[in-house]
Symmetry: C2
Subunit: 290 residues, 2 copies
């Protein structure tokens, strides 16, 4: 936990609680619970993906062993429940409904993510479904949790959830974008890792959708070629992506979800100036370079 991370999810819970007029202190424990939950999913995902690095350091299963990573993940999950449910008793049914639903969806999303690796014919809709479950609902949950703790009307809590879902999709697409078009010093991860591992991201799926004739052959060949060095493969695929304007198309997809999020936010009945902090952070989430 000390390695940091953006602490984005607890931040969103606190800001949302404040937005709806709640006391930030009331949201502290539940907000921390979401960060623990997020870290639990990373711990288990890293085992499943055989990921060697996380936040620039060895992953738990690499540094220790798989058993420790499974069990400390399970324990983090219990601690997440302990903290998320540290709230006014009368709010517990709502909080539990939200958190249980979110936790279940995140697991479901991870299952899709693993399944897609071995499935042919994955569409962009399939991909959006997967990242909605795996990533976006936890962003939504973070925001709605703050609203519930602030005792916001149900309708407004649902609007901030919908805002979060679209923001979360844009956020994940930005991650996919940075994997190819980011700068290594800022991103903090290897550039092109999704390309090296043949991960079916929006960029990959869009490229296969648009490519015809020569560029399709080139795309197929290079994604299949095992002999190709990682660097070379990343360079060739990135060039094809650029030719097909995948960078521009990804940014326009990000904008689409972000605009949808902003539109939903405008329907929340709170003075516009009070929404500024959240909107600023939302903007950073989809324009970040890190």
């Amino acid at each position: 936990m000390e390695l940091g991370g953006k602490r984005l999810r607890p931040l969103l819970t606190l800001i949302s609680c404040d937005l709806f007029g709640g006391k930030i202190e009331d949201a502290l424990a539940p907000a921390m619970g979401l960060e623990l939950f997020h870290n639990f999913t990373l711990l288990h995902d890293d085992i499943m993906d055989h990921a060697p690095l996380r936040r620039g350091k060895e992953t738990v299963f690499k540094k220790w062993n798989t058993n420790s990573a499974i069990l400390s993940g399970d324990t983090l999950f219990v601690m997440a429940y302990e903290l998320v449910t540290k709230t006014t008793p009368s709010l517990l049914p709502q909080v539990l409904e939200l958190f249980n639903d979110t936790a279940r969806k995140v697991c479901e999303g991870q299952q899709y993510d693993m399944d897609y690796e071995f499935m042919a014919g994955i569409s962009i809709d399939d991909y959006i479904l997967m990242i909605r479950l795996k990533t976006a609902v936890l962003i939504s949950c973070s925001l709605k949790l703050g609203a519930i703790i602030a005792k916001a009307p149900e309708e407004e809590a649902n609007l901030i959830y919908a805002f979060g879902e679209n923001l979360g999709l844009a956020f994940q697409l930005q991650d996919d974008y940075l994997d190819v078009f980011g700068e290594v010093d800022k991103f903090g991860k290897e550039i092109g890792n999704d390309i090296v591992t043949n991960k079916k991201t929006f960029l990959y799926l869009k490229a296969f959708e648009l490519a015809g004739g020569n560029s399709l052959e080139l795309l197929k060949n290079n994604f299949n070629k095992r002999s190709l060095s990682a660097r070379k493969k990343v360079n060739i695929i990135t060039e094809i992506y650029k030719e097909l304007q995948i960078d521009i198309l990804t940014r326009s997809m990000i904008d689409e979800y972000f605009t949808k999020a902003i539109e939903i936010m405008s329907r929340i009945n709170i003075p516009e100036d009070r929404k500024q902090i959240l909107l600023e952070i939302a903007g950073q989430m989809v324009n970040r370079e890190t």
Copy 2:
């Protein structure tokens, strides 16, 4: 889930709820939640222990793969929370406190269990601590959960918890006993598996505590000998256990915890005839052959 098992934990919840005058229907969902939780722990434990069989069938990680076993375990855990918390909202704080505490302790117990494998000098007290966390507290939790749902007074709920802890210890010791002195047809598992895997059970620790001279040498040699066939090793060690009267000593330890449980039960202010069903099941738990 369809492979069965004894369904002991949900049974205890329902009986305890009934004992304290609650409606059994109110306890159904939470009781099922505990069975899911138990199965979640088995799923993850089987990965960690590399166990090939469970309830006479291939374990999930063997039949499918480790990733599926991790993730379906996580999902079962979420579903356990969903069901355990399906109760009257006013009871949620108590139910969550109990279940969170139990879940955390079960994880802790599993960690001890794994640690002990590579540690020298484990005492019987260490072992009792481990099985208290890994096994007994879930038995206690099952009983206390029924009491909470029946709105039993806190003092009585705590007594049934203490009853369950002692019963749970006796139950696990019975499991250790059956591993060596049970009959394969009734037990449903290979006899002597704990001996083959050098597991530091009560029997193992007691034998090392009591053995001197010749029998200690024999014990050490046979536990270390890699060349020995499983069958031979089990036979030799079982003979040493018998010479040292480990079977009798284990049964007397079981009796001790069982008697303690019964004594605690007698302090619960409910007519004795109403306690009969629970006492009968408790008796079966520590005298079972299966």
